[in-house]
Structure formats: structure tokens, C-alpha cells
Amino acid sequence: MSLTLFHQHVLEDHLSGFEAKANPNHLAAIRRPAIFSVLAHRGHEVFVKSGLASIEGVQVRDCAPGEWLVVSTGLGAVVMENTLAEIAGASVIDQSDGRALLRIHGPNVRRILAKCVAVDLHPDGFAVGTSTNMLCCHVAVNLARSGGDTFEIVVPRSFCGSVFEEIMEMGREFALTAAFADS
């Protein structure tokens, strides 16, 4: 007996029936990102960090000293795992199913996120490329600025429905829409 198993996104129920047309303020839930935790062992922090920086097609998100989330919407989990395995002094674990990737974009994105996070997201202090762990809608997430008006949030899967609903509620005043996206 061979099994054909259907993979389910955690927001499947939350997003079904949504209008496909995106408003200027829009949240995209990425369907199958590859997300890995990378932990540098003692003394290898700098080496691992530079190793990660040299990988193409991935975003490296800062979590803590010597700890990162490596995110890719292009590379599959298998390719990513093999690539990361080559970095000496690091431990790597697949979190692709344990984390959801939300991308929120639009002219009012900072106004919306100010209702979700306590951190000042002004570009002077939180420039494009910055990422860090923080509380978002009462849940510890990793938040990154990927563009002037674009932020990406990596949310633990079990909390994702809750966080998603809360962000959408906070976006109501700016007509925030949401849909799945492949990348």
C-alpha cells in the first residue's frame, strides 16, 4: 500500500472563500516555504553566519545570538537541508511545517503592525533587511522588513490562525485583504 498524502496549510480554513483581488494593503500566506532553524555551536557563530550569508535564494532571519531562521520560497526543503548541512559547526532542523510565513504589504502596513507589535518599525530603526523575534498579537514570532512597505512574519503554526485573524482585524480600517501566494 502506497500512501498519497495531502499537505494542508494551517490557514486553509481561514482563507477559503476569500476574494482573490488584492487591495493595496494585502497579506499573503506563502503556501510551501522552506523554513529551517540553524543553531551555531559555541565558537562557530561568526563562521556559521557568514556561511548562511553566502547561500543564494534564501533569507536569513536573526532570532538570537547564534540562532537563525533560514527562509526560502524558491528552494525546496530537501535542497535547503542539504545546503545547510554543509555548514560546519551548525545544527539544522526543518521547521517548514512548524512555522507559517505571512507577508504583509501596503501603504498602511506600519499603522496595521503598530496594533500588533510593540517594536518601533520606523525605517530609521528598523531598516529593510532587519529581522528579529518579537511578540505579535501576544505570540512570539519573527518579524522582518523585506521592503519599504513589506514585512514578513514567521508564526508558529499552532498560533497562526489566531495571529492571522487578529492581523486581519487590525487591518479592517485599511481594507486589508488576504490570499495564498506561492512565493
Binding site: A64, P65, E67, A118, G125, T132, N133, L135, H138, A140
Partner: protein, 90 residues
């Protein structure tokens, strides 16, 4: 409503991101006297004023920090990573 702690790794964050464990004490060496262990496990000074406490940045970097602050005025004098904080009995 709020207070803010500046994590040495993550920057300024609201207190909701942290949990507090109390006095920043180093764990005694396993072989020190019964009395030292008793003091470590059970006795706390509970001072009014300047105080060093363990704070865990649970919703951020998940590092344990030592927050040096005045527990009356909440003036914070410094926040350091606990791994670099001194240890007792060594």
C-alpha cells in the same frame, strides 16, 4: 500599562516579552556546604532599591538576562546576558 526593557540582543521591548525569575544568584558548586546550598535554594534578601534580577527574554532571543534596576523607581542601570554574569562558589 507598560514598561520597557532594553535587551542587549534585541533592543527595547515591552515587559510582556519577558518573564522574571527573581534575584540573580549564581548556582553554587555541587560540593559546597549544606548551608550554602540552603541559602541558595531558600533565602532571598528581597531588598528595596537597587536589585539584580534574572529576566528571560521569552518572546525574543530567549536569552536569560540580568537586569540591574531599582525596584522602587524602576530606573534600569544595565541589562547584560546572564552567561557573562558572575557565579558563586567558584
Amino acid at each position: 500599562m507598560a514598561s520597557l526593557i532594553t535587551c542587549p540582543h534585541c533592543g527595547t521591548r515591552p515587559k510582556e516579552e519577558f518573564s522574571i525569575r527573581g534575584t540573580a544568584l549564581g548556582r553554587p558548586h555541587p560540593a559546597v556546604s549544606e548551608e550554602d546550598w540552603h541559602r541558595y535554594v531558600y533565602l532571598r534578601d528581597n531588598p528595596k532599591g537597587r536589585y539584580q534580577e534574572y529576566w528571560h527574554h521569552a518572546a525574543g532571543c530567549r536569552r536569560w538576562l540580568v537586569v540591574d534596576r531599582d525596584n522602587v523607581t524602576h530606573d534600569v542601570f544595565g541589562v547584560t546576558d546572564a552567561a557573562t554574569f558572575g557565579r558563586v562558589g567558584e
